[in-house]
Amino acid sequence: MLSPYIPVFVGILWAALLAAVLIGVSLLFGPNRPTPEKRSTYECGIDPMIGDARTRFSIKFYVVAVLFLLFDVEVVFMYPWAVLLKRLGLLGLIEMMTFLLVLVVAFVYVWKKGALNWE
């Protein structure tokens, strides 16, 4: 069962090689004249402002990622079901609708809690 994957693996290697070579060529051929001024962070021509750039960011981003993760898992459960729906018949439909119902409950909860507001 490996055979269709061989080209994929070859592709991975080739893409990586391509990327490496291109960057390598660029390293080789690009002029390189680093000065402290040049290497300093760009911030609209101003010396970088107070505070580390990697400061702490809004928790909102975390909430997005969590919701993404959990919904992604739910979606994953739907793929086999979708493919099989016609074979599973009514039972499959009911099963998934129950599953979806819980999902919708979760979704509504999240919505009501305001986690979907980004203002």
Binding site: P4, Y5, I6, P7, V8, V10, G11, I12, W14, A15, A16, L18, A19, A20, L22, I23, V25, S26, L27, F29, G30, P31, N32, R33, P34, K38, R39, S40, T41, Y42, E43, M49, A53, R54, F57, F61, V64, A65, F68, F71, D72, V75, M78, Y79, A82, V83, L85, K86, L90, L93, M96, M97, L100, V104, F107, W111, L116, N117, W118, E119
Partner: protein
């Protein structure tokens, strides 16, 4: 037999090597179309002065000049950057982009005597999921690229961008459930093949016909996934300068840039395969074609049909870009979560329940 080896080599070594190269060439064409198209939309002409050996070649050399120029531009690493990740990030955004095209079929299986050559790099039985899985890795290039440069704008751009991409990934995943229900497979070539059927005897059973809402949702999500206007927030110049690739120069920048276009092509190929009948030429099934024009010409015609559709979608991407304003971050997230997601769920509900109600099976 040597011919066996030849077929094996073509399938396993030649295709995976050639397809990325074709894609990268496609980027050149895409950039050219984008820039000339924008010109003509805006009552101007677009790049046309680049001269090679005294020929003006309508600006076709423009993207090549750009790429070459970037290749020989100074390689630059910001002082506070995390060097390793700084180099890794563009590679990370490029590789998944090139890989995902591997499972998209650009023609029916070419039958030459006893040899069957699928016109597709890898005919995976989970092809569709493969695209999702690999493209979900594209996020790392952006996130790490933004983070490693240690610049506020880039980090903001990287975070924004990744939040946007993952949000729309959900809608994207849900949008195709309907297609799966209808076509009962995750193997892309099967899906395409089934779109050759006719509905009511005359209408090609394309995904867009059986899943119009799914198509719309998928298209919008694809725009968002490829960071195109109206979803180009991560690099919204007006707000955060150049976003996550702000500190990138030379070819590393170029790789982000190319990854965007390759992603567009992948998205277009994906849309075409799922919703626009892939390599199918409407009303002309493979068997009929083979019977009339022979296998080779059939393959050529089918690849051509695929290419035409793909470039049409690409053009729509460009066209949309030059027409619409961009969303604000919160509106974009709101659209993704509060509009697209419920709609996609509704789409699934309708697609799965209606046949039962109608007693189709």
């Amino acid at each position: 037999m040597w011919i066996d080896y030849l077929v094996w080599t073509v399938q396993n070594l030649l295709f995976p090597v050639v397809v990325p190269v074709v894609l990268l060439t496609g980027v050149i064409l895409a950039v050219w179309i984008e820039r000339r198209g924008a010109g003509f939309i805006q009552d101007r002409v677009g790049p046309n002065r680049v001269t090679l050996f005294g020929f003006r070649n309508a600006g076709l050399m423009q993207p090549i000049a750009d790429a070459l120029k970037l290749l020989v531009k100074e390689e630059f690493i910001p002082e506070k950057a995390d060097r390793f990740l700084f180099f890794l990030a563009p590679t990370l955004s490029m590789i998944p982009a090139l890989l995902t095209f591997m499972v998209i079929p650009f023609g029916d299986v070419l039958v030459l005597g006893k040899y069957r050559i699928p016109l597709q790099v890898a005919d995976l039985n989970v092809g569709l999921l493969f695209i999702f899985a690999i493209s979900s890795l594209g996020v790392y290039g952006i996130v790490l690229g933004g983070w490693s440069a240690d610049n506020k704008y880039s980090i903001l751009g990287g975070l924004r961008s990744s939040a946007q991409m993952i949000s729309y990934e959900i809608s994207m995943g849900l949008a195709i459930i309907g297609i799966l229900i209808v076509f009962e497979s995750v193997r892309l070539n099967d899906i395409v093949r089934m779109q050759g059927d006719l509905l009511f005897g005359f209408l090609p059973r394309w995904g867009i016909v059986v899943q119009p809402l799914g198509f719309l949702l998928f298209f919008v999500a694809a725009l968002a996934e490829t960071n195109r206007i109206p979803f180009d927030l991560p690099e919204a110049e007006a707000e955060i300068v150049a976003g996550y690739h702000l500190e990138y120069s030379s070819f590393k920048f170029s790789m982000f840039f190319m990854a965007e276009y390759v992603n567009m092509m992948v998205a277009s190929g994906f849309i075409v395969s799922l919703f626009l009948g892939g390599w199918q030429i409407p009303w002309l099934p493979t068997e009929a074609l083979v019977a009339h024009v022979g296998p080779i010409l059939t393959a050529v015609l089918q690849v051509a049909a695929f290419a035409v559709k793909l470039w049409f979608i690409m053009w729509v991407f460009v066209w949309v870009r030059w027409t619409l304003p961009r969303f604000r971050y919160d509106q974009l997230m709101g659209l993704g979560w509060r509009v697209m997601l419920p709609l996609a769920l509704a789409n699934i509900f309708v697609t799965s329940v209606v046949p039962f109600v109608l007693g189709v099976y």
